[in-house]
């Protein structure tokens, strides 16, 4: 479906969504609700490609062969935005649909740990504060903690959840040290390296995202800690509990107000050029906006609603369909 001239593959009557697996359950839920409420439209196709591959597809161009919506578990990057521009995807609507809580969890019969971001950083960073990590047990990290071997199941480096872990927890723990904070302005790369690199000697175990298996592993191995999306914690409250960080337990409320460190915003990006071309696309955004309230059905699936002001602002974007300008991207 390139130029109007060819016209052969002109249009599509089905919304196409690609992108992050984190948003997959939310967007599919909206998609499903959308057709049951609007039977005249066809069901959307939601593909879980991962944010990066999805962004690539999204930015590849406009036309029936390219998706309309990108699910992103992080903000679009400057480079990706430029890629979009280059391929003619000029107008993009950016909507923050809610928050995904990153939660540290342990088995119900676990050691009931309470950690700080610095503890976590020191336990799983590759080179805490620039020195190789030798900690074997939590006690080595912080004498107040039990002498339990450090075993953390967490997202792999390919996943967006991992980015959040680095950004929202490790970096904060790292910056607790003033020297590191200072380093940030001197040598940003080195700071990143020291602060966000995760150890690879077995204490941190990369596991798949969205994986029920982590929960099962934790019940089987009560001394381990898991890092995963808040929705898993909620779904499995019978067998696992949240680990307090800086004395805050992961709950809906603490994540929503960002007091639990580990919350990240989730976005969808919509192609402006498709808004008029794809039947139902606008209505779909409306459905999304109506679903992301704290009492909406997305909450049941583990989405944490954004603060009221953010929701209102984004609801406006979703109805007015204002395009982003991308100047504040990194």
């Amino acid at each position: 479906g390139d130029e109007a001239g060819s016209g052969a593959s002109g249009a599509r009557d089905q919304i196409k969504v690609v992108g992050s697996s984190t948003l997959y359950p939310f967007t599919t839920a909206v998609a499903e609700k959308f057709v049951t409420n609007n039977p005249r439209f066809k069901a959307a196709v939601v593909e879980s490609t991962g944010t990066g591959a999805g962004m690539k597809l999204f930015c590849a161009g406009v036309g029936a062969n390219h998706p309309d919506i990108e699910n992103a578990s992080r903000r679009i990057k400057k480079s990706e935005f430029e890629d979009c521009q280059k391929n003619g995807v000029k107008d993009i609507v950016e909507i923050q649909i809610g928050i995904d809580g990153l939660a540290l969890i342990e088995a119900k019969n676990g050691p009931k740990m309470a950690l700080t971001t610095a503890d976590i950083y020191k336990a799983i960073a590759a080179n805490p504060y620039g020195k190789p990590n030798t900690a074997k047990t939590w006690k080595d990290v912080n004498p107040a903690l039990p002498a339990v071997a450090i075993q953390v199941y967490g997202p792999p480096s390919t996943s967006g959840t991992r980015d959040s872990l680095a950004e929202l927890i490790l970096e904060k723990g790292c910056d607790a040290n003033p020297e590191m904070k200072a380093l940030k302005s001197q040598d940003a790369d080195k700071h990143k390296d020291i602060c966000t690199k995760v150890r690879e000697d077995g204490a941190y175990i990369e596991s798949g995202e969205n994986d029920n298996l982590i929960v099962q592993k934790l019940t089987a191995n009560p001394n381990a800690i898991g890092v995963l999306g808040y929705s898993f914690l909620e779904e499995n409250l019978a067998s696992v509990t949240g680990v307090k960080i800086n004395n805050v337990a992961p709950t809906y409320a603490t994540i929503a107000d960002f007091s639990y460190p580990g919350a990240r915003a989730l976005y969808i990006y919509v192609k402006g050029a498709h808004l008029n071309a794809i039947p139902g696309l606008k209505e779909f955004l409306g459905e999304y906006a109506s679903a992301w309230n704290p009492d909406g059905y997305l909450a049941k699936r583990g989405l944490i609603a954004s603060p009221d002001a953010v929701r209102a602002a984004n609801a406006e974007v979703a109805t007015k369909l204002t395009f982003m300008n991308g100047s504040d991207l990194k």
Binding site: Y24, A31, T36, N37, A44, S48, A238
Partner: protein
């Protein structure tokens, strides 16, 4: 007659060096006992190997069956709905016209259903029924708009927790609720027809495999349409006509190699060529089928060549000898005789394609598709990918659905393999 050749050569020295073997000595008998013991051990090891392999298969099948059988059943709750009291803005007359769907969509049936559940089971009642329970209510209205004037009882799917409790896999609170409802006679567990007739959903009580199955069938259709003729023709060419030169060697090497290339690499090929280069529609059975066809074609070629090779050359000589042209020889004699073998190979190749997942992940068939595909260019997913997707789902209700989908897939595959074995045994010919 001819005794002339007799040569007396007794080799006396050597004969003396060796005494005749006495097989009756103790040592010899012991040795034999030992050898027979070794023989029995070896045989037992062989039997053991077979039994272990079969046991593993049985274990796998039984596990799947045990988990999956539950996926075919669904617990339903008899929900009393008092329509007149529900105050829905729904005009029964509108349900007759062309705008019935819109009318149904705009009425807040969901709210009414939730309210009915709360009214029937208390404040937590909404959690007893599945999120999609209201669809049943909607269907009930659509089927018979007159219910709107009455109070009726409608069987709606129970929430996953209750469903699991009904199947003995639940947690204590849900079990308590289930027991209560059971005493009241409000729950029943029956065959889940939805599972066989609907497509993917986010709600485990509403999911079905029909969408994926249809996707699989469409994909297989494309695969068969491409791979079978190409495979058979290529097999004929290579086996019957190809001159021996570097080109045919190259073809031969590629085919043997393609048969062994990891399937995921075909996925990378499909991604690069069909999607990025040819811009065929993503997630479509067309692309999936074509990718799998490339994978299946070498299997068919190899099976086809073996089948063609096993047709005795004497048949070809006979036909050539009375003046049949090479093309006639093949199409009149060789191909009909080789067909059972070719079909067997095709079925096996198709069965493999039907069970294939990895390459399809690369070309976008890993998608949530809530309506069964209408054609080969529509977005579709296939059974194995559906299984993969469900195995990753958060909701616990998907566990049994995954196993149930596996059972469906296995039934198809085992049928196909069985058919292949049957064909092979029936038509296996030795000349």
């Amino acid at each position: 007659m001819s005794k002339a050749m007799t040569v007396e050569a007794p080799l006396p020295t050597i004969r003396a060096a060796r005494k005749p073997t006495d097989w009756k000595t103790d040592a010899m008998q012991r040795r034999i006992t030992r050898r027979y013991a070794a023989e029995r051990r070896f045989k037992l090891m062989g039997l053991g190997a077979v039994l272990i392999s079969v046991a593993f298969l049985a274990f796998l099948l039984i596990t799947m069956l045990g988990n999956g059988a539950r996926g075919f059943t669904q617990t339903e709750i008899r929900l009393p709905v008092d329509f007149p009291r529900a105050a829905m803005i729904l005009d029964p007359a509108a349900l007759k016209g062309p705008h019935a769907e819109v009318a149904l969509a705009t009425a807040d049936i969901e709210g009414a259903t939730t309210a009915a559940a709360v009214a029937a089971f208390g404040p937590a009642g909404a959690d007893y029924i599945s999120d999609s329970a209201w669809l049943k209510v909607r269907d009930a209205i659509r089927d018979d708009p007159s219910v709107l004037a009455r109070k009726v009882e409608i069987d709606v799917p129970a929430a996953t927790a209750i469903d699991l409790a009904a199947k003995g896999k639940g947690e204590p609170p849900a079990e308590a609720i289930y027991k209560r409802l059971n005493v009241e006679g409000r729950v029943s567990t029956g065959f889940n027809a939805t599972f066989l007739t609907s497509a993917d959903s986010t709600d485990p009580t509403r999911v079905g495999i029909w969408g994926a199955l249809k996707g699989s069938l469409l994909t297989m259709f494309v695969t068969l349409l491409l791979a079978f003729p190409v495979g058979v023709l290529a097999a004929i060419y290579l086996e019957e006509y190809a001159p021996r030169n570097r080109w045919t060697d190259l073809i031969e090497v590629s085919i043997n190699n393609l048969a062994a290339v990891p399937s995921i690499i075909f996925g990378l090929l499909g991604l690069a060529v069909f999607l990025n280069f040819m811009h065929l529609p993503r997630s479509a059975a067309l692309v999936g089928g074509t990718t799998l066809a490339l994978m299946t074609m070498p299997v068919i070629v190899i099976a086809g060549r073996n089948a063609i090779k096993s047709v005795p050359p004497s048949i070809r000589d006979a036909a050539l000898g009375i003046g049949a042209s090479p093309v006639q020889v093949v199409f009149h004699h060789v191909l009909p005789l080789a067909l059972p073998g070719i079909l067997t190979g095709t079925i096996i190749g198709m069965a493999r394609a039907l069970g294939e997942t990895a390459p399809l992940l690369m070309i976008g068939m890993r998608a949530f598709i809530a309506t069964p595909p209408g054609g080969i260019a529509d977005p579709a997913t296939v059974l194995p990918v559906q299984i993969f997707l469900w195995s990753d789902e958060v909701s616990r209700g998907f566990v049994e659905k995954t196993s149930a989908a596996i059972i469906v897939l296995l039934v198809f595959l085992l049928t196909m393999n069985g058919l292949a074995i049957y064909l092979r045994n029936k038509f296996e010919q030795r000349w």
